[in-house]
Symmetry: C2
Subunit: 516 residues, 2 copies
């Protein structure tokens, strides 16, 4: 007997298993967000984290950041004690950190249209959201093509349907069939109408941020936003060490409305930062501190999230690479920095450079999602669907990743040490040489014992072959098409929906279409 | 700008990258084993680990184990203070643990034919070895078929060639074309002749263990084994709570020769243990303690490794499932138990139930290998090649997994906090808005900055499409065929080789072939 095949009980027919797997979404425990029970993994000692913080301070003091085209931001920083020279802003050591720590909340709730779906951002909470920003979509039959508003709605519906994502996300794909200057109306509407989970707002122009806030006010009530976060939006730095006007303008609009912002340096290490983990981490921290400080200067107390998107790159071709060890080390390092800073942290996801949901995609995605969970990331954008370095949102990849998100939910609970979990009496009474398949304890734990994948085929080779030798992509295709076919929209107040649609129609008619 | 495609530099042609990737094995750093720098991840508090230990003690006291057909073992346990009733052995609380802790070494070296490949087992060392025990093999062209001695030699050659495995393994696949009672001669010979990394011995019969030791004595010298471990072998319990004669007989042979043993309960939780993490962990610890205590009673001080193979199972079909959260939690839990016990730990690998190296295989494998590394496993069997729950050894899967093993080597080093690693001056002198691609620091770190995958395609979609839209399986196929084509055997003393082959011929001729 060995670890190999001989040691296992004979496998039975998979027909029953297939039927059970189809019931997956009914049995899966529905929680509005994950509550982690495990201590975050540290890859640096406290001294190591201090060194990264010290270097971020040194960067901000010695070279600082440039703020392009945003005189209001320069004025705010100057008033707070930073040194402004043209568009260059440098900070006395510790100032940016103090500005953040003085007023930024440690944790906050993002309220959903359905209160049962309100999420907590920060602390032991982890919120999983779909991928963001792909101009292309891909599915098994249609291949790769530009995203449309129908694709956008489909991904909103899929994210609404699954118990394993807690958030509707933002630009789940670019609806390239709509004019650039008006597509945000349909995107935000889709999140509000086809889902009742929390969502992200438009950031491509301050006016589009304003529209997002106005639409949220129609749905949540005119005064509700003043003390409730209902929109959280993604603001990227222009690394290295630049923040620009359109992003900061959108951030200002949301901050003034007390809505949450994820201030995220987007770094391909080697191109936008040095090619080392400690270098990329220190620079990310420096850039993010400036972004978060800006939000606090606009409106003290407005919720901010420390964001980091860090990938390695092929030093040969300049292409971004994912699932490699170095970005994982950056992630662990910056999660520790965020904890010491006292703000929620956003990073990670299910990232890959693969063009298709093959083994490369899965290895790279798992190698990103594992550190994401173990580091204790609070908000996980790109948790499902990401392909091709973010250029493509994949339907099959989306449901494969959902499966993994479900596993993370089970993992996050940690080890059950209850009497039932210990199962001591079951072992003692069962005795040597008797299998546990029919044991009382096994039967009592039958439904919930193990995470049940909807994608994995665990049948015998013969059964798998008899069912057509399907790979994971083919099985995933059947799952998302079924999910979409069975989708039912959440209820919405008809009057609110009408008001929202009328408002959108008026806005759309008030200025010409444009693709800039 | 967002996290999506817009933020990245333009991708260049991948032709250059492809040529660089082909050089991977030349640049990869060659180390005989990994030395971890990160603190092992804990999923339980100290009290939690104590509870598992307490339950293992309770199992051994209240129900104990059965030892089938091995009166010598019963006598040894009785002599050591255990209670023997027929074939049932129960232990006063703490006895089994004391027997192990009294004489088992905390760490040891397994010596390789080439001293540069000697591995350290225990402590901060992690040794990665190929998969073990599959009757079938699979490759892209030939599909799934029974393994042969040629396949066996191929996998030994591939494991020898890669810098990312540190061990030649044991039954890398079953050479089903050879008679059961003689195939161990050709297997052990293949490890000794086609590789010079450390290897594992035959365990299917005490006489085959004896043959393995005799062959090692021919190669390493007659007295060398007395104070050098050169063979490490895998002994499985017959869970729940049974050890049987053939396995213990093989273990006795190796222990008497002072060779190392991995005492491994092989558990599909739900079938061979309760369906809970804490239950499976306590039972595994109880069973392993008995196995390790037996080895210490046979020969005090003989090196033993605490082994655990734990998978979840489909509660619907009884099939084993891999890459799920629960076995990861068992692994973390038992790694902590092994550290407290003070012996090396074996577990994990790159496990999957998938029949082919698709996304399912990769997700599941990565979800096993990540905990394996993070928990600080010392000896990792099944690190490469495993498919179909261990029924199949895959050629393409093997090289895909090698890539992942390489990534783990990079990860295990942790964050470089040297001055070059910090890159502070590079950031300060580079300044805002300037990319780092041509920076002096980037050029200086060009070759070693990021782990370079040999399987991943990071090219643009257009380039990938122009090159035939290959998936990871197709690319992996090209890699292993090239590795085999370029294989060159390690040198061996011709006289020793001749003596070994003559000895094998004599042994083979001395008794008839049999398939039992």
């Amino acid at each position: 007997m060995s670890d190999g095949a001989e040691a296992r009980p004979r496998r039975r027919s998979g027909g029953r298993e297939a039927r059970r797997a189809a019931r997956l979404h009914e049995v899966a425990e529905k929680v509005p967000f994950l509550t982690r029970t495990l201590t975050p993994v540290e890859v640096l000692s406290e001294e190591g984290v201090s060194l990264i913080e010290h270097n971020a301070d040194a960067i901000l003091e010695r070279v600082g950041v440039e703020i392009h085209g945003a005189p209001d931001a320069l004025k705010l920083f100057e008033g707070a004690g930073a040194n402004v020279d043209g568009e260059r802003v440098t900070f006395p050591p510790g100032l940016a950190r103090q500005l953040v720590q003085a007023t930024a909340p440690h944790e906050f709730d993002q309220h959903a249209r359905n209160p049962a779906n309100t999420v907590h951002i920060g602390g032991d909470a982890t919120v999983l959201a779909p991928a963001y920003g792909s101009p292309f979509v891909r599915d098994l039959e249609g291949g790769r093509r530009y995203g449309t508003i129908e694709d956008f709605r489909n991904f909103v519906k899929l994210a609404y349907t699954t118990p394993f994502l807690h958030h509707s996300g933002g630009t789940v794909c670019e609806p390239v069939d709509l004019p650039v200057n008006k597509r945000h109306y349909d995107m935000v509407y889709a999140h509000l109408r086809y889902s009742d989970k929390p969502f992200m707002g438009s950031v491509t122009h301050p006016l589009r941020a304003r529209d997002t806030v106005d639409m949220a006010r129609i749905v949540f009530g005119p005064d509700h936003l003043e003390d409730h976060v209902v929109v959280m939006s993604l603001i990227n730095a222009n690394s290295p060490l630049v923040w620009d006007a359109s992003m900061l303008g959108a951030a200002r609009t949301y901050a003034e409305a007390n809505q949450a912002l994820i201030m995220t340096p987007f770094i391909l290490a080697g191109a936008m930062s040095p090619a080392t983990v400690a270098g990329a981490a220190a620079q990310t921290l420096a850039e993010a501190l400036v972004g978060m400080a800006y939000v606090q200067l606009v409106r003290p107390g407005a919720p901010v999230v420390f964001g980091s998107f860090a990938s390695s790159m092929s030093m040969q071709s300049g292409a971004p690479t994912f699932g490699t060890p170095e970005p994982a080390l950056v992630l662990y390092t910056l999660a520790a920095c965020a904890r010491r800073l006292g703000v929620p942290f956003r990073s990670g996801g299910s990232l890959t450079a693969s063009k298709i949901p093959d083994a490369q995609a899965a290895y790279e995605s798992a190698n990103t999602l594992q550190p994401t969970m173990l580091a204790g990331v609070n908000f996980v954008l790109h948790a499902a669907g990401w392909l091709e370095g973010g250029l493509t949102m994949g339907y099959e990849k989306f449901v494969m990743d959902l499966d993994q998100c479900g596993m993370m939910a089970a993992f996050a609970k940690g080890v059950d040490l209850s009497e039932n979990g210990q199962a001591l009496e079951a072992i003692v009474t069962n005795g040597p040489g008797q299998h546990f398949l029919g044991a009382e304890h096994t039967l009592a734990n039958f439904e919930t014992a193990f995470f049940r994948s909807s994608i994995a085929d665990n049948n015998s080779f013969e059964q798998w072959e008899a069912e057509g030798s399907k790979d994971a992509i083919t099985r995933a295709n059947a799952i998302w098409t079924k999910m979409l076919a069975e989708y039912e929209p959440p209820p919405i107040d008809e009057a609110v929906d009408e008001e929202l649609r009328a408002w959108i129609d008026r806005k759309k008619a008030s200025f010409p279409d444009s693709n800039v």
